[in-house]
């Protein structure tokens, strides 16, 4: 049950992220990239297996929560946060310099 919910959450996040990235306007693209990075962070967290109430260190045969994916997620969150901040500033600059919020800097032909 928990596995199904986790997989569905990831699927919805990735689908929305990919859709928004393909919108080709800087604001939806930034939102899409954020959703994708949330999905990735959750995925990394799930790679340590879904266990509840277990200690984070090996202690005989009892189930343990793997601490390494949590460390990976922390790193990924920090990097993702910095990158999102950068891409927001870049999108603003592109809007100012190219005069359009389209990722190619021009309106598509109608």
């Amino acid at each position: 049950m928990m596995e199904a919910v986790a997989a569905l959450t990831l699927a919805v996040l990735v689908t929305c992220g990919v859709y928004l990235v393909l919108r080709a306007r800087t604001f939806p693209v930034v939102l899409g990239l954020s959703l994708l990075s949330y999905a990735v962070n959750l995925f990394l967290f799930f790679t340590g297996r879904l266990v509840t109430g277990a200690p984070p260190l090996a202690g005989g045969s009892a189930p343990v929560a793997d601490p390494i994916p949590q460390a990976l997620v922390l790193t990924a969150i920090v990097i993702g946060f910095g990158m999102t901040a950068f891409v927001v500033i870049l999108a603003l600059r592109a809007r100012g310099e190219l005069g359009s919020d389209h990722v190619d800097g021009r309106e598509e032909e109608r």
Partner: protein, 496 residues
């Protein structure tokens, strides 16, 4: 323990941070940056001498033994890439201090952090650490790509940044999948665990191997992920474009390392083993079409970078010692020559006034002989004509291919060279011979401006003269890469 192994990381990191403090003192900042980059040269030479004996240098960070801690690993391939980066960075920086570095405040900070990321990606022996160093070099490159400003740079950078953010997400998914299936991220330990993986995990590992190919292919500009490159390299400031010549090679390095060590092509990486060669040849063909269609010299050189990536990956895609050895000889050649051509294109553009490096009727150059000789040298080296190192590299590659694959590889590599030759001859005749008026519009460039480009292009001559020791080294490197058990024993057996 050999503490010099971490010096290529500490030096640019400290220099980058100090440069940040010296933003208000540009003269001092410039001197510090040049000094630190020059310091990389003896350090990497020392490391090359160490690794040249076939020894592995393993540096456990925090003294935690592998696979529990992160290790830096120095082998022949890493040492070669580090030395190449140091040589390229110093010459590019000497070009930049002629004025390009003042077009934005943080050039030196970003330059040093870029070097930190590149050196780290070459040295690390841990897959997640490789991701972190990729991010360091990427975020520095985002800043550098925008250096100088302007609408075209912003447009190209936006594409580059968004694509690489998606690439980073895929990288993390691949890392997570590998961790879930193998329970480790140390590359040597991964190699052991992947080879011994139970059959029910084979699908997951295949997915991870192909995801990693997509990620590294994006960095290396492998078809169909090469479309960002010409616009970005063609519009970046000259020293930045020249430094970026090594960036695609970081992707090539990651492909070479992953699919000889973690997923050997005759084992877990058999999909990649089948797909890499056709993709590389298609990249080469696409690059050759781009070279023929370029309307500006810098875009032409950018497409030559795509062609060189195709050539390199074709050599690696053969997965035999001849092919990898040829690719490793071709790699320094193409990096230095394309960087030299980017710098030369900048010198030419400055002497043509408002015409820049467009292939249009323009005024004559102020120094047609000097720039012409340099362009001729660069064109001969880049097109792969005898006697320079481009010819030797391609010859080694053509010799390495088995008769069954020879038809496609020979024809595409040779037609690609012909396309490069035609495009470069056309570019040379437009710029140097067919000129309007008889008066130069710009002053002559002093020797300090010409020297970095000249030295970069002259490296091709040096690589031809010293071809025998170089080829011995690259063949030994290829043999070392194709026997990954040595690497695994060195890393997992290393006692801190």
């Amino acid at each position: 323990m050999n503490h010099w192994i971490i010096a290529p990381l500490v030096l640019p990191l400290v220099a980058g941070m100090l440069s940040l403090l010296l933003v208000a003192r540009p003269g001092l900042q410039r001197a510090l940056s040049v000094g630190a980059t020059a310091g990389l040269l003896p350090v990497t030479l020392l490391l090359l001498c160490f690794a040249g004996n076939g020894e592995f240098g393993v540096y456990p960070l925090g003294n935690w033994p592998a696979p529990f801690g992160i290790v830096l690993v120095l082998d022949r391939l890493t040492a070669l890439m580090l030395l190449l980066t140091a040589v390229l960075a110093l010459l590019v920086l000497l070009h930049a201090v002629n004025g390009d570095d003042r077009r934005g405040r943080d050039f030196h900070v970003l330059f040093q952090l870029q070097l930190l990321g590149i050196n780290g990606a070459f040295l690390t022996g841990d897959l997640f650490n490789l991701f972190v160093f990729f991010e360091i070099l990427l975020i520095a490159s985002y800043g550098l790509a925008l250096h100088g400003g302007g609408a075209e740079r912003t447009r190209a950078s936006l594409h580059y940044v968004v694509l690489n953010l998606i690439g980073s997400a895929l990288f993390l998914i691949a890392v997570g999948t590998l961790y879930a299936a193998a329970g480790t991220l140390n590359m040597a330990d991964l190699a052991v665990k992947v080879a011994a993986a139970p059959p029910e995990n084979a699908g997951l590992l295949r997915a991870a191997a192909l995801l990693l190919l997509a990620v590294f292919g994006l960095k290396a500009a492998l078809l169909p992920l090469h479309l960002w490159l010409p616009a970005l390299y063609g519009h970046a400031t000259a020293p930045v474009a020249a430094l970026f010549a090594i960036m695609t090679k970081v992707g090539v390095y990651a492909i070479l390392r992953s699919y000889t060590l973690i997923f050997p092509a005759d084992g877990a990486g058999s999909d990649v083993g089948q797909w890499l060669l056709p993709l590389a040849l298609l990249t080469l063909a696409a690059g050759a079409v781009g070279v023929l269609g370029s309307q500006r010299l810098r875009v032409l050189v950018a497409y030559l970078v795509v062609v060189s990536v195709g050539t390199l990956l074709a050599g690696i895609g053969l997965f035999n010692s001849g092919g990898i050895g040829a690719a490793l000889y071709y790699l320094p050649h193409t990096t230095l020559v394309s960087a030299g051509l980017f710098l030369l294109a900048d010198l030419i553009a400055r002497q043509r006034g408002s015409h820049g490096d467009d292939f249009v009727l323009g005024p004559p150059l102020a120094q047609p002989t000097r720039l012409g000789v340099l362009f001729f040298l660069g064109a001969v080296a880049a097109a792969g004509l005898p006697p320079l190192s481009g010819f030797l590299g391609k010859l080694l590659l053509l010799q390495a291919v088995a008769p069954a694959q020879a038809g496609w590889l020979w024809s595409i590599v040779l037609i690609g060279s012909l396309a490069g030759l035609i495009a470069l001859s056309r570019a040379g005749s437009r710029i140097f011979w067919k000129t309007a008026g008889d008066r130069a519009v710009a002053g002559q460039a002093p020797l300090t401006h010409l020297a970095p480009a000249a030295v970069l292009l002259a490296m091709s001559i040096a690589m031809t003269v010293f071809a025998a020791p170089l080829i011995r080294y690259t063949e030994a490197t290829a043999a070392q890469l194709l026997a990954p058990q040595q690497y695994i024993n060195a890393v997992l057996g290393a006692q801190p």
